[in-house]
């Protein structure tokens, strides 16, 4: 008793010490335990945020830096080595125009890369429950086993469009929206995920993306043409070899521009076609509105003429961001399902072995829970299960154990960030229902056929297209029951590990 009495005042001191840590000593002992977080800090998707939520990008930004470096170096060399000669010999307007183009290219690139592409926020738990109820009523089945794929049909402009249910975001995707598996978000009017700009291209940044590739085409052609002009003019005067010696950078510029021109101009042409017909890359690749699908198949979103389609896509009203990155998280307002901090923490190596580790994790936690359930007197089974647990635990390695203290359950490893993972998925898929396997393989074949038909750089589309089709991967999302089981087992493991 006395012991307790002594302990209490000490505890109180401890508490008051903590509470006055970051504030004036005169402040009352009661203080908010956690500071207010901004919504971007609790964002469930796989995005990176900078400048306190003002900048939003995809997780893998390596290729974006490559794009930036290429543009900066090529333009820099042009301004440093070619422009002095050209401005003297021809006209000083050349560096001026080049400068304007360069600034425009960078501006649109940053705008494309840093802005929200049109991410749809995930459903709040109440909303999700309400939808589930509606679906159950519609299907006439009780919850317990996984109901068939959930779709809703709407008739838009005379064309029947299927709205698919997104298992990650727990919403029915609006028409033209798609779930990006790289970013783990549903994006409105999803075009594709572009690694070159390090972001998805969707409703809100499509016009910036188009302006970027268009202005980059002009800049590339401009630099290419004028570097050639420079080399030719100089060669007339000083000879070809001397020219190369005086201005070695020109060779590099020509090489870079030559290879860029084909891909970028081609891409601009492709997107000009898409804009004029009001289609997304996603729809074009899938052939959603092509006449090959059926006689009465047409694009219900097109305004009928090219001019209106272009104006609507480029000059239409800019919708606001729906995710409110810089707002504060309210404790009383409903929050969507807990962020998948676990998955972002343990990096992007979503290989098959990792999935096996997770399966082992589930197995070993089940064993541990069973062990905990058995009475302590039965020492033998406990020892056995402990032994079984320990090797399992070590094989988990960093990633899984890293996830546990966070308390959040990792999302099912079906949303793969790398192209190669699509192939890795095949053996894993066998464990899932067979009926869905065919769908994905068909989809998979479909992806890799069409990019050859489409006039776009092969380097880009194969990365973009499977992810445009990432909603097919959603079919392999673990059933809700398995999710809760995994969550329970993880919680159980946390509790046991703290003992």
């Amino acid at each position: 008793m006395l012991h307790l009495r002594v302990a209490e005042p000490m505890r109180e001191c401890e508490y008051s010490q903590i509470s006055t840590r970051s504030s004036t000593p005169m402040e009352t002992p009661y203080k908010k335990r956690t500071p207010k977080r901004r919504k971007w800090q609790a964002f469930p998707g796989r995005n990176k945020f900078y400048c306190n939520g003002r900048i939003m990008m995809a997780r893998q930004t390596g290729v974006f830096y490559l794009t930036l470096v290429l543009i900066l170096i090529t333009s820099g060399l042009f301004f440093a080595f070619d422009c002095p000669f050209l401005s003297m010999q021809i006209t000083p307007a050349i560096p001026v125009i080049g400068g304007v183009l360069f600034v425009f290219v960078l501006g649109t690139l940053f705008r494309t890369s840093f802005s929200d592409p049109g991410v749809l926020p995930r459903a709040t738990p109440d909303e999700a429950a309400d939808l589930e109820r509606q679906i159950d009523v519609a299907n006439g089945s009780s919850s317990g086993y996984r109901s068939p794929p959930r779709t809703r049909e709407v008739v838009i402009n005379g064309q029947t469009v299927k709205l698919k249910y997104c298992f990650t975001c727990k919403i029915f995707r609006p028409p033209r929206a798609s779930h990006c598996s790289l970013c783990d978000n549903c994006v409105e009017r999803f075009d594709h995920h572009c690694p070159w700009v390090g972001n998805c291209v969707g409703k809100r940044n499509y016009r910036f993306f188009y302006m970027f590739i268009l202005s980059l085409s002009f800049l590339t052609i401009f630099i290419f043409a004028f570097v050639i002009t420079h080399v030719i003019l100089r060669s007339h005067r000083y000879g070809f070899l001397n020219t190369l010696k005086d201005s070695p950078a020109s060779v590099l510029e020509v090489v870079v521009c030559f290879f860029s021109v084909w891909s970028i101009v081609g891409l601009s042409g492709f997107h000009t076609y898409l804009i004029s017909s009001n289609q997304t890359t996603n729809e074009d690749i899938k052939g959603s509105w092509s006449s090959k699908r059926g006689k009465g198949n047409y694009n219900p979103y097109s305004y009928g003429n090219i001019f209106t389609n272009c104006c609507a896509a480029l000059c239409g009203p800019l919708p606001p961001s729906l995710i409110d990155r810089r707002g504060f998280v309210q404790s009383d307002t409903p929050q969507p399902l807990p962020p998948t901090n676990g998955i972002t923490m343990y990096g992007s190596t979503q290989s098959q072995s990792h999935m096996c580790d997770q399966a082992q994790c589930i197995q070993s936690t089940k064993l541990v829970l069973q062990a905990a359930a058995t009475p302590l007197l039965q020492s033998e089974p406990v020892i056995l299960t402990d032994e079984a647990f320990l090797p399992g635990r070590t094989s988990l390695g960093g990633p899984c154990s890293g996830a546990l203290p966070l308390g959040g359950h990792p999302t099912p490893p079906t949303s793969t960030p790398k192209l190669s993972c699509d192939n890795d998925m095949l053996p894993f898929r066998n464990e899932q229902s067979n009926g869905l396997r065919h769908h994905h393989t068909d989809g998979g074949h479909h992806h890799f056929l069409t990019p050859e038909e489409a006039p776009s750089p092969p380097g880009m589309l194969p990365c973009g297209s499977p992810l445009g089709h990432s909603h097919t991967i959603q079919g392999f999302y673990n059933p809700a029951s398995q999710d809760s089981l995994h969550e329970d087992s993880v919680r159980g493991l946390v509790k046991l590990s703290s003992v």
Binding site: D126, E127, I156, L163, R207, L314, L318, P319, P320, T333
Partner: protein, 145 residues
Amino acid sequence: MAETHNLQDLQHQAAVASKVYVQRDYNSGTICRFQTKFPSELESRVDRQQFEETMQTLNNLYAEAEKIGGKSYLEGCLACMTAYTIFLCMETHYEKVLKKIARFIKEQNEKIYAPLGLLLTDPIERGLRVVEITIFEDRSIGSGR
């Protein structure tokens, strides 16, 4: 201001009985439009005509925000020419209308729905997916004004 305070009081005092969600209506395409069908849970609470009028006005406001016409083209072209830097100082037309919608919902809540024990949530807070209507239990007597 005092009325808002009462709304918050209402929220704290009364218990949330249930929430009704009015989903998006995609029959006209991807434009923002909510279903005007009267939810059955509100039968006993609010007048059907009133509710449908509210939803229709809301839909009209969103249509105004997304309207493609001369003004929006002008804004788009101006923005393009200034390399989109103009949005650092200027508000887009859509944002202006969203503010208008927020005011409209607040006004509707104060005048019509709060006295009936209902609360409409601005759809923008739910990602323009649903109009969330919270039904409060009829514990508090009257509007407590």
